[in-house]
Amino acid sequence: MTAGGPGAEPGVASPPVALRTEGLCKRWGVVYVNDRIDLTLPVGARHALIGPNGAGKTTLVNLLTGLYPPTAGRVLLGDTDVTKLAMHERVKRGLVRTFQINTLFPGLTVLESVVLAICERTGAARRWARSVARLDAPIAEAAALLDRLGLGSAAHTVTRNLPYGKQRLLEIALALALQPKVLLLDEPASGIPAGDSTEVFEVIAALPGDVTVLFIEHDMELVFRFAQRVAVLVDGRLLTEGTPAEIAADPRVRDVYLGETASEKLG
């Protein structure tokens, strides 16, 4: 992941790029919430995006997925310029996100939600001639996914009756059900008790090598454990990026974000 332009070393073939932005900007009124962001995610990356509250991390994810158009700049998925594409079209091309605040279907059961996601992926969702209960393959796939995430026992619970932690897991389950090529996780562990959050990350880490993951996190332990590279976003600009160790050692980052306690923890 480079914070500057593409191609750090001339003469070295760069790995295939899963997701890339060029000069991505978003302005609300007079404030640039995202300011000239150049981001490159190689295929298979496990990258983290950190930054203080209000730095513009969620806005960046919103721009990447197409929730609203950028003020300037481009988003490229693989080789395709997706800047003008609607959100659902980007999802069809493998760009999937989770939400920081649970954005689920309150009246649907856990199983229904995941089966729906699978049907959307396979294109079965527009079929009207057979009832859902008869779709054996999606149901089996959904059940397996729920078991992997520890939601198997809650399969028939209506989403609004789920405890917060399980809702968070469902949020991730929906994303995984779509078999993403590029997965953007917005604070996936927030609200999940400490023991379970490592489990969630292990599921994510266990994803196939060609799936690219970018996750926003505040929990530094998780970041340093699971991220290969870390980018730091401050006031809408990419301050720096590097390996977790580099970031921890960077005094600018300490000043702005990590604070005394975390840097003490890392020595």
Binding site: A86, L116, V132, A155
Partner: protein, 329 residues
């Protein structure tokens, strides 16, 4: 509406028939023999129920706030009426034509409707309904204007059954069509498409993030609901051999909305229950004094909203949940 598709599939939407489904549908069949003098009213109740069912697809499942669904009812009614008036009295093809006309107009207007807020949806559906009513009024040369068309030469059903004054043919015809529509709607609603509609209603924000083309789904649902409303309208014209401006307009749109809400949205049978309650109450109270009818309906609506339980079926569900919870040790 849940079913068993294997152990894990239990609880997923299914359209399997249960004992009480059969029982519920036997009731109107029995009514044919038990109330032979009230078959005309019976047809009207069934037609109203079908109309309410069509609105349930649009409102209860797709979540579109429509205050002008009568637009499609009226389109279907006048299509059947005009066909009969101009020599084509065959009922079943008339029904099909009505469905097509209503579906086409529904499809065209759906694009305006699906991209708006609830208020915009309300306004546009209201506007289209009133527009069509005005158009029907002004085109008096064809539609008969405020007098409408009467004594329409509707042909014999299947070439054999004449639409008699007692309303026997009309009743059976309406019941058969309503049943067929019900089976279809039930299948659609328990399908993946139906599930996606419910999801759009529950969490429109999440659906594009799941890769779902929300607009397209809503257009399909709206068009389907329009076609069904058109069929209901055509049924009314054919069974009563006449059509008038009141098939359009806010009174009819508001009435069907009230019926559906009274019975319970998103529950299919709510449409039937609500239509039955509404029509029977209207028949009884409006004969007493039209003012009482308006007062009663107004109070009922206010009560339904303030109670916030989703109509009669909604209340029934809450009660049943309490009861089963209580009886488990």
């Amino acid at each position: 509406m849940t079913g068993r598709g294997g152990a894990i599939g239990a609880g997923l939407p299914s359209d399997r028939w249960r004992i009480w489904d059969a029982a519920l549908w036997l009731a109107p069949v029995a009514a044919y023999f038990v109330f032979p003098d009230h078959l005309v009213l019976g047809s009207q109740v069934i037609i109203a129920a079908l109309f309410a069912l069509s609105l349930d697809v649009v409102l209860g499942y797709a979540g579109i706030t429509s205050l002008g669904h009568a637009a499609f009812f009226g389109l279907g009614a006048y299509t059947a009426g005009l066909l009969a008036a101009h020599g084509w009295g065959e009922p079943l093809t008339g029904l099909a034509c009505a469905a097509v006309v209503a579906a086409v107009v529904g499809y065209l207007t759906s694009f305006l409707v699906v991209r708006g807020s609830a208020l915009a949806q309300l306004m546009i559906t209201l506007g289209v309904d009133l527009l069509l009513r005005e158009a029907a009024n002004k085109a008096a040369r064809w539609t008969g204007g405020t007098d409408g068309l009467s004594d329409l030469p509707v042909g014999d059903l299947l070439g054999v059954f004449h639409f008699d004054l007692a309303g026997r043919t009309g009743y059976v015809y309406s019941l058969a069509v309503a049943f067929a529509a019900f089976v279809l709607v039930r299948r659609v609603v328990s399908s993946p498409f139906g599930l996606s509609l419910r999801a759009i209603r529950e969490g429109a924000a999440r659906m594009p993030a799941l890769g779902a083309p929300v607009g397209r789904r809503l257009v399909a649902a709206f068009t389907f609901g329009a076609a069904l409303a058109g069929i209901a309208g055509a049924l009314l014209t054919q069974t009563s051999q006449g059509v008038a401006l009141e098939v359009f307009g806010t009174e009819r749109s508001a009435s069907v909305l009230i019926m559906l809400v009274l019975g319970g949205t998103g529950r299919l049978y709510g449409a039937f229950l609500g239509a039955g309650l509404f029509m029977l109450m209207q028949d009884y109270l409006a004969r007493l004094d039209p003012v009482y009818w308006q007062l009663w309906i107004g109070c009922l609506l206010v009560a339904v909203v303030l109670l916030g339980r989703g109509g009669v079926l909604g209340i029934a569900e809450v009660l049943r949940a309490r009861w089963t919870r209580g009886s488990v040790p």
